[in-house]
Amino acid sequence: MNIPVLTLTLLSPILAAFVIMFIPKEEDKLCKWVAAAGTGTALLLSLYVYFGYDQSVGGLQWVDFGGPVPWIRDLGVSWYMAVDGLSLPMLLLTNLIGFTAVFASWNITLRAKELMIYLLVLIAGVMGTFIAQDLFIFLLFYEVVVIPIYIMVIIWGSSKRVTKEYAGMKLTIYLLIGSAFLLVGVIAIFVQALQITGVPNMSFEALSRVAFPEQFQIYMFALLLIGFGSLLSMWPFHSWSPDGYAGAPTAVSMIHAGVLKKIGGYGLIRFAVFVLPLGAKFWAPYIAVLGVIGVAYAAMGALAQKDLKYVVGYSSVSHMGYVLLGVATLGVVGVNGAVANMFAHGVMAALFFSMIGFIYEKTHTRWIPDLGGISHYAPRLSVGFMMAAMASLGLPGLVSFIPEFTIFVESFKVYGILAVLAIAGIIITALYVLRAGANTLFGPAREEYKDIKDIRGPELVPLVVLGGVLVIGGILPSLLFDMVNSGVAPILAHINEALQLGGR
């Protein structure tokens, strides 16, 4: 591989941001087109990588520059960009959502130039976390993400139950606290690994080969769990999620709920579970309990909401509970389900938020009792909303059903009655999703909304792209699952090996 495709993928939004800097700020349409071109290029590249990946070989492929390029030798940090079946769906997801998020912000005219720049930096940051195979670079990109989010929320956000300043602060502080826990864990793990092996190396692979003592693994895993868990809105570290999404502008909600959250789940599998299998074994039942509480609790929470964004905010907490439950099974089927569910939820949540964004833009309200009968004036918008709603309640034929089903299979096997509680979540999910959907879209046509225009032109991009993925992923789950499996199976093989060796 002579061309560093992944680095190029990462650079294309950055390049676009750079170009936008030189465009006069009055030309906001041009800024948006450049942003669309940058994210579109990244999307095409990631599709190329996705379908060029050889699943039969597996492992890390598309390694940029033929291998790790040393960066900070004393810390063993290197520029190590590569993908496997775990990273690829996430990479693709990031670019799908990034691309559509540009179009979801199409009608924003307030400081559109800056918005696009921040958005592109944000997308690049998220992408970097998924393709970096080096722990340090992973953390670096994670920190890159935080700042644009804060700025975007407090400038372009909206104040409802809480002010946008509060929401932005809450999001940011949570992300930072999570990363503080992570940092402690990362440093401790690095130092310990250095003492055991004598060679500084920050790559996930190298760290996973280090045999850490069991007690150490248990303590460190707890730190990482809090770090990644608060990012994944694990109960009880979830309360940033509804407020944050409600305050954030559409594009941020899409990216945050769609992919940023998934860094938590991705990191949990890629780093915490992979490097610390004994710790994972110890904490798995607790993760499962927290996951199940998250599912049921947040679903009930969503039921009590009247603001559309809060409904989806709580719903995403609930869905992340399934992901946690899947990871906690530590079995191939369950973890496959968890990863696939992250992808599915990402697509679904992004579609949901973009549709809510359009509804808000056109009706100036997200308060469900004030809405109703939207489908008479905006049928395409309603189709998008319904598709997201149906995916959210796990309708077969859409991408989210099979992942949920696989999680259920494995977690039911491992945790029995606990899993039943989580499965019961599908009923409550159906209840709140249908309620929100029906009360927003259906019912008598309202006079005050008769002038709203259906989505059209560039506004259709989120619906077409994300809706298309929802359906294709639902009809051909093997497109997603074979890929995920090729990444997850080796990781779990490694873990099982470690578990058999490691028993004190």
Binding site: M300, F412, I427, R435, P444, F481
Partner: protein, 644 residues
């Protein structure tokens, strides 16, 4: 053709699915074109399905060896799912029936939905529904079946709520989805159990493995539990007690939908599913008793509600619930063939009655109360007489279709009782009494709506041919459809059965009994609602027993119970949890940040602004360090900067 059809059975659901895609993406602005595409696709499906049925019913080896082919859908270590086709007489019969009824109803809809602004959308939904239903029928795998099962649920949701401007339609659609969802939850658990224990959801493989359940470390009790879990799905889908509440409300949808989905096809999916998993149920007598009892109870229960309802479609809906109960009862007593037979005949006569009711509503501009109709048969002869044929069929008058299937169910129930199941006699009594009630409420409706004096404020007119043609076809099937399963030459039972074919001698006593019951019901209805032109006696009866009347009219207050549960328990719980989230979890987080703020506030008093204070602290600090370095022991000095 037959070979091709057998080898390409997946085309049967695929064609309507393609029609759906075409209509949605291309032809939506042109209603006529859309409906033509939908009907063409559906008719081609029907031709294929008919060829398949021909192929299956001319080759007796299909009885024992179903034709199965499949391909890998997705998979991973320890969990692989194939999708495929399973063709045997049962599925061939269903394919034929579903595609026939769907084709007829689409033709009917061209008349019924004429001029509706959402005309194309309606046909796209109907096509999607037909695709999912046919997919359900041919599924070779329980997961595949479950997927189609949910998709038909989705279509049902969309079609019940088709008139999106009506709040009642919106609520009914939601209710239907939620209620069946509860059933699906149980079924999903059952499927998970099966997958985890037997490692497959493939129908053929399961059928081989389930009888040896003990090898898989399973007790009879647990298997019974699994079977009951699976059965919860059909309870929801087929409107069995206590999850029947959605079906009558589902009549908010356009009438062709009620006929297609909520009478002839989708609601029997539950029955069909139990029929497909008979290998599981026959292993566990406990679960079979549950099925039989719920079936019989539902049959009776719904019939007692139907006798006091006033809206024409609502009466038909409760009658559907009741008839579905019959089918479940037949399954519960172990007779797949009786159940499927009733499913077959019921599909025709119930679709017929719904379509005829739709024709009436069409003529009366959606006036649904039967008490406000009367004498319609003079102005609407085709509708009226076909409805009467349906009424004769459902009441069980020979030689109409319903007689044979209902008689078969009564016969197998009796046989079940005679084989040492004491419960069987109770079931039989319930079924027989239901037969009487069925005849009564059905004919009450017919006499009120079609006979008697005409109401001057109504101006009925016969519907166009596009609507009456399906009525006539269905009327033919409702008349002769049962003749293939008469006790003298029971071709049906030979082809569609589970275990050994049921070959009992004709039970003339039973036949006589069922005819007498039917005639008694019709006679009672005649005396109360036709001969007595003022209908005084009927009202006197209602006034004499007000409690009974009210309970029946208000459907045993089950809706109210659910509503209470939903509003108080579920929503209340949600509110409590939300309160908890805001005032406990989030409060804790906010308090933490408050604490951080307070700490900062406290510490800032060190900042006096007086330079000399800082200098003093500075010097004192220096002094302490100096003293420690000079006189302290080396370890404590280590803290100060690593000096050894």
């Amino acid at each position: 053709m037959v070979e091709f059809a057998l080898g390409h059975a997946w085309l049967v659901p695929l064609l309507p699915a393609l029609a759906f895609v075409l209509i949605v993406f291309l032809t939506r602005p042109w209603p006529k074109l859309s409906s033509s595409i939908a009907i063409a696709a559906m008719a081609s499906s029907f031709v294929l399905a008919a060829s398949i049925a021909y192929g299956v019913f001319t080759n007796p080896h299909f009885i024992e060896e179903p034709l199965v082919y499949s391909l890998r859908w997705f998979g991973m270590e320890g969990f692989t799912v194939n999708v495929g086709v399973k063709l045997d007489p049962t599925s061939a019969m269903m394919l034929f029936m579903v595609s026939l009824v769907a084709t007829l109803i689409q033709i009917y809809s061209t008349g019924y939905m004429k001029g509706d602004p959402q005309y194309s959308v309606f046909f796209s939904y109907l096509s999607l529904f037909a695709a999912s239903m046919l997919g359900l029928v041919i599924a070779s795998n329980l997961l595949q079946m479950f997927i189609m099962w949910e998709l038909v649920g989705l279509c049902s949701y969309l079609l019940i709520g088709f008139y999106t401007f009506k709040i009642s339609a919106r609520e009914a659609a939601k209710k239907a989805f939620m209620t069946t969802r509860i059933g699906d939850f149980g079924m999903l658990l059952g499927l998970l159990f099966l997958q985890i224990i037997f490692g497959t959801l493939d129908l053929v493989e399961l059928a081989q493995r389930v009888p040896n359940y003990e090898q898989y470390g399973l007790s009879l009790g647990l298997l019974t539990f699994i079977a009951i879990l699976v059965f919860i799905g059909p309870i929801g889908k087929s409107g069995q007690f206590p999850l029947h509440v959605w079906l009558p409300d589902a009549m908010e949808g356009p009438t062709p939908v009620s006929a297609l989905i909520h009478a002839a096809t989708m609601v029997v999916a539950g029955v069909y599913l139990v029929g497909r998993t008979m290998f599981l149920f026959t292993e566990v007598p406990g679960a079979m008793e549950v099925v039989a009892f719920i079936g019989a109870f539902t049959a009776l229960f719904a019939a007692t509600i139907a006798i006091t309802q006033r809206e024409i479609k609502r009466i038909l809906a409760y009658s559907t619930v009741s008839q579905l109960g019959y089918m479940m009862l037949a399954l519960g007593v172990g007779s797949l063939s009786a159940s499927m037979f009733h499913l077959w005949t019921h599909a025709f006569f119930k679709a017929l009655m719904f379509l005829a009711a739709g024709s009436v509503l069409h003529a009366l501009h959606d006036k649904a109360d039967v008490w406000k109709m009367g004498g319609l048969i003079k102005k609407m002869p085709i509708t009226g007489w076909t409805f009467v044929i349906g009424g004769l069929a459902i009441a069980g008058i020979p030689p109409f279709a319903g007689f044979w299937s209902k008689d078969e169910i009564l016969a197998v129930t009796m046989e079940y009782a005679q084989h040492g199941h004491g419960l069987g006699y109770v079931l039989f009594a319930m079924a027989a009494f239901t037969a009487f009630l069925t005849a009564f409420y059905m004919w009450r409706m017919i006499f009120l709506a079609f006979f008697g004096a005409e109401k001057p404020e109504n101006h009925p007119h016969e519907s166009p041919l596009s609507m009456t043609f399906p009525l006539m076809v269905l009327a033919v099937f409702a008349t002769v459809g049962g003749l293939i399963g008469t006790p003298w030459a029971n071709a049906w039972g030979q082809w569609i059965h589970f275990g050994h074919p049921h070959a009992a001698a004709p039970a003339y006593g039973l036949m006589a009994l069922s005819v007498v019951l039917a005639l008694a019901g019709i006679g009672l209805a005649y005396t109360l609602y036709c001969k007595d032109t003022e209908k005084q006696r009927a009202q006197q009866l209602a006034e004499k027993y007000p409690t009974l009347y009210k309970i029946s009219y208000n459907k045993y207050y089950i809706d109210e119970l659910y509503q209470w549960f939903n509003q108080k328990v579920v929503d209340g719980g949600a509110k409590v949890l939300y309160w908890f989230d805001i005032h406990v979890v989030d409060k804790f987080i906010n308090d933490m940040s408050e604490l951080t703020g307070l700490t900062g506030k406290g510490f800032r008093y060190f900042q006096t602004g007086k330079l000399q204070t800082y200098a003093l602290v500075f010097f004192l600090g220096l002094l302490v360090i100096t003293v420690v370095l000079a006189f302290g022991d080396p370890t404590s000095a280590g803290i100060m900067g690593g000096v050894k």
